[in-house]
């Protein structure tokens, strides 16, 4: 079983609709640690030792956050700056994270059509988040295609629920090693529904060799 660390960053969680449901859907999953960064570090005083220890203890790191200005919320950037130290996470001796996987679970206010060449945002979301992707690649980690909920603004409750269920299924499958990684890797991003990417429980053994 893959141990999952969810690093959740939302500066105004209390007003969030989508992330409240997403978080509720995955909180308490077996083998999962849910870490609310804005709750832990309201003053941005990130405890580097503790964060590094948590990273070491888990196999899959999930960064769950809304996309702000085509990037991560500022505390998560602070977390990158301080936790992913040279000589620990990267550099010739920095191998602490090598071989682990990272999955971003994102929401965007704009709809999917806005994130394309010639669209409102002129780039795809995957392209816009290239710095994040490269950060983890530099740390020797495998960057999975991000799980994305587009059009969060004005999304109705049943629709949010559909995304939340997909998110939960995705993490459950990743935890149990039942995600069809070969298929997933070809996708620019993962969206609900995710059922096509998940293998039935019986065939889960093949995943073991994938690591």
């Amino acid at each position: 079983m893959q141990r999952i660390l969810i690093l959740f960053a939302h500066p105004a969680f209390e007003t969030s609709r989508v992330h409240r449901r997403l978080a509720a859907a995955v909180e308490g999953l077996p083998g999962t640690t849910f870490r609310d960064l804005y709750e832990a570090y309201p003053d941005f005083d990130v405890d580097v030792e503790r964060e590094q220890a948590l990273l070491v203890e888990h196999d899959l790191i999930v960064l769950q956050h809304p996309v702000f200005w085509y990037s991560v919320p500022p505390l998560l950037k602070q977390w990158f700056d301080l936790v992913l130290q040279h000589g620990w996470a990267y550099g010739s001796e920095g191998t602490a994270l090598a071989g682990k996987r990272v999955l971003c679970a994102l929401s965007t206010g704009g709809r999917k059509e806005a994130y394309r060449h010639g669209g409102h945002n002129r780039f795809t979301l995957r392209e816009l988040l290239a710095p994040i992707e490269q950060t983890f690649v530099l740390c020797g980690m495998e960057y999975l295609p991000p799980f994305v909920v587009h059009g969060a603004h004005g999304m109705k409750a049943p629709e949010i629920e559909r995304h939340a269920r997909a998110y939960r299924k995705l993490l459950e499958a990743l935890s149990a090693g039942r995600l069809d990684l070969a298929a997933a890797r070809h996708l620019p991003q993962i969206e609900a529904p995710v059922d096509d990417l998940i293998r039935p429980a019986a065939g889960g053994d093949a995943e073991g060799s994938d690591r």
């Binding site: 405890d47 030792e49 992913l84 040279h86 490269q134």
Partner: protein
């Protein structure tokens, strides 16, 4: 029945105290009344377990009053005393003067000679420092307007005893008494026989000696003693200090209590203040308890039984007369209605000085033996009545006429219960309350200062007046349904009491406590409070940050340094709280923590991975990639 032997006596007194005081406390009567009742119980007129030696015990136990004044001095900085000079001289002077006049007039009415009347008046005008301060302190009322005024008056009385003692021989009928020379008022002192101006000089010199010694001598002495690591030696030094001061003061003819009070004030700013307090506290408590028991045991019930009407009438008259004068003075000095009541009911008794002055007056034949015996019984009764009177004031008078202490009935009227209770609404509690209010959280406030309660009520806040450590009051404030209890009282003992009450009766409450010092933080942590806040930590760190900035540090660097400092300090406090009873371990650990923190802030520990801002420090990157072209992330 009452055999001799120190241990036998100790057994009787201790057993009586241990049995009676908790019962009295439980019944809400306060410890003073408990001790008094214990004394009555073991006295010659009830169980008869102690007899005549009660008087010796009283003299011995009077040292408890001396210790108490020392402790009070420790709590008062010199500037505070200076601030009180108006009430001390004005209020105190008027109280002694007016009460003396009124009482003397009454005595004249009884057909006494004017000299006798004056002696009796001035003797009974003085109140009981021991009972009043102990009771006020126990109720946490010492810092209120009425408490401060009471304290000021008592302090003046302590000073006034000296001239009153000198006055007694002058009141003796001409040609009577053993050598009516002025100096004879304190015949075993150094100043006996000196002319008045020399006497004054000697007293001033002694006071100066105490101040100078406190400033320059005691600091190094305490440091040296503390370095030995022998706890009992420190206690011995503390006791020695108090006793030496008391003896010195007695030798120059000044009240020992006043002298030790002065010594306390001088040491109020010493770093060993808290240490001294903790060391002296148990002695003071025991001796004061013994003192109260001796008073109780000394009440001459045989005499009362012979003429109960007279004794009780005199007792009543004395209390009423003193009370009236005090109430008038309270209003005159612009105390609020509640505080005037507190002030009046506190000081409406005669005090322990009366015993001394009466025996003195008998010696100089100013007052006859019979009259003195009656008056002593009256004095003892008024003293015993004081805790009862204060209780009456608190439970009956104030609820009816003063700022109401709301209890059960009114609590039922609160329809929407507040999730937060704030105990203590001084500047600290008020800020907490305002922040909560600004975020739409209403809090129920408990405060002991009725002036403040009045003001807050006028502002429309839900405020309860009373001692927050009383379970019934907490219950009335909605503690059964609230989620948080904020302890922002000024005194850590009260906070600790409240922690205990809350943990016992309202276990669902999460307690957040203010600590005024590290030592208090330790005590609260030890009492099981998780959320402890040292109230100087934040402001001093912020000032420190500003200081670094003004010295040219980058604002963010200073900010981060303060964050690091705070986190380490909080961790250290929690760690040290568990080992503070082991002196040497505590010191070595504390030193280690401080050194560790300093090293961390200097950045020495970059290699150990403890340097937390390494992510912003390109040093290791320069070492690895410096000079060659790389895909280094920037």
């Amino acid at each position: 029945m009452h055999g001799g032997g120190f241990f036998y006596q100790a057994l009787i007194y201790l057993a009586a105290a241990v049995v009676t005081v908790p019962i009295a406390k439980r019944l809400g009567l306060g410890s003073v009344l408990g001790y008094l009742l214990a004394g009555v119980a073991i006295g010659p007129f009830a169980l008869g377990l102690v007899g005549e030696e009660g008087q010796d015990v009283l003299h011995f136990a009077e040292f408890g009053v001396v210790l108490m004044l020392f402790l009070i001095g420790l709590e008062l900085e010199p500037s505070r005393v200076w601030h009180l000079r108006g009430p001390i001289l004005g209020l105190g002077g008027l109280q002694v003067g007016l009460t003396t006049c009124v009482l003397a007039a009454i005595a004249l009415g009884f057909g006494l000679d004017w000299r006798v009347a004056l002696a009796v008046g001035v003797t009974l005008a003085l109140s009981s420092t021991a009972i009043v301060l102990q009771t006020l302190d126990e109720k946490g009322l010492l810092a209120t307007g009425g408490g401060q005024s009471s304290f000021a008056v008592l302090l003046f009385q302590d000073i006034a005893v000296i001239p009153i003692l000198a006055l007694m021989p002058l009141l003796a009928a001409p040609g009577v008494g053993p050598g009516a020379t002025p100096g004879a008022s304190h015949d075993d002192t150094w100043v006996a026989g000196l002319p008045g101006w020399a006497e004054t000089l000697v007293v001033l010199a002694a006071v100066l000696a105490i101040i100078l010694a406190g400033r320059f001598l005691l600091q190094p002495l305490f440091r040296a003693i503390a370095r030995t690591g022998l706890r009992e030696l420190f206690t011995a030094t503390a006791l020695l200090l108090v006793i030496a001061t008391a003896v010195l003061m007695a030798k120059v003819g000044v009240s020992p209590a006043l002298g030790t009070f002065l010594a306390g004030v001088v040491l109020a700013r010493s770093e060993y203040r808290h240490e001294l307090e903790t060391d002296i506290q148990p002695f003071k408590g025991l001796l004061l308890g013994l003192f109260f028991m001796a008073i109780g045991a000394g009440i001459d019930f045989a005499l009362i039984a012979r003429s109960p009407g007279l004794v009780f009438a005199l007792t009543g008259a004395l209390i009423v007369a003193k009370l009236l004068v005090l109430l008038i003075l309270g209003r005159l000095f612009k105390l609020s209605f509640d505080q005037t009541l507190l002030f009046g009911f506190s000081l409406a008794q005669a005090g322990e000085f009366a015993f001394v002055l009466l025996s003195f007056a008998v010696r100089y034949d100013v007052v006859g033996e019979n009259l003195a015996a009656t008056l002593i019984a009256v004095v003892a009764l008024t003293m015993a009545a004081t805790p009862v009177l204060m209780l009456l004031n608190e439970r009956l008078v104030q609820p009816r006429f003063g700022t109401r202490e709301r209890t059960g009935r009114e609590a039922d009227e609160i329809d929407e219960l507040n999730p937060v209770i704030i105990a203590g609404f001084g500047s600290f509690g008020a800020i907490v309350g305002r922040l909560l209010r600004a975020n739409g959280v209403s809090a129920t406030v408990l405060d002991l200062d009725s002036d403040r309660v009045d003001l807050l009520r006028k502002l429309g806040l839900k405020v309860f007046y009373g001692d927050a450590s009383r379970p019934d009051l907490l219950h009335a404030a909605g503690a059964g349904k609230a989620r948080l209890l904020v302890l922002a009282l000024d005194r850590v003992e009260k906070n600790l009491e409240l922690v205990e009450t809350a943990k016992k009766h309202f276990p669902q409450l999460t307690i957040l406590a203010r600590a005024r010092s590290r030592a208090e933080a330790y005590e609260l942590l030890e009492a099981g409070v998780e959320h402890v806040f040292r109230d100087k930590l934040d402001s001093s760190l912020r000032l420190g940050v500003e200081a670094l900035r003004l010295l040219g540090f980058r604002a963010h660097h200073a900010h981060r340094a303060a964050q690091t400092f705070r986190r380490h300090d909080e961790k250290a406090v929690r760690e040290l709280a568990t080992m503070r009873h082991d002196h040497s371990l505590y010191l070595s650990t504390a030193r280690e923590r401080i050194e560790g923190l300093e090293a961390l802030l200097r950045g020495d520990l970059a290699d150990s991975g403890e340097m937390r801002d390494a992510g912003w420090d390109p040093e290791t990157l320069r070492q690895e990639y410096g000079g060659r072209k790389t895909d280094e992330p920037e």
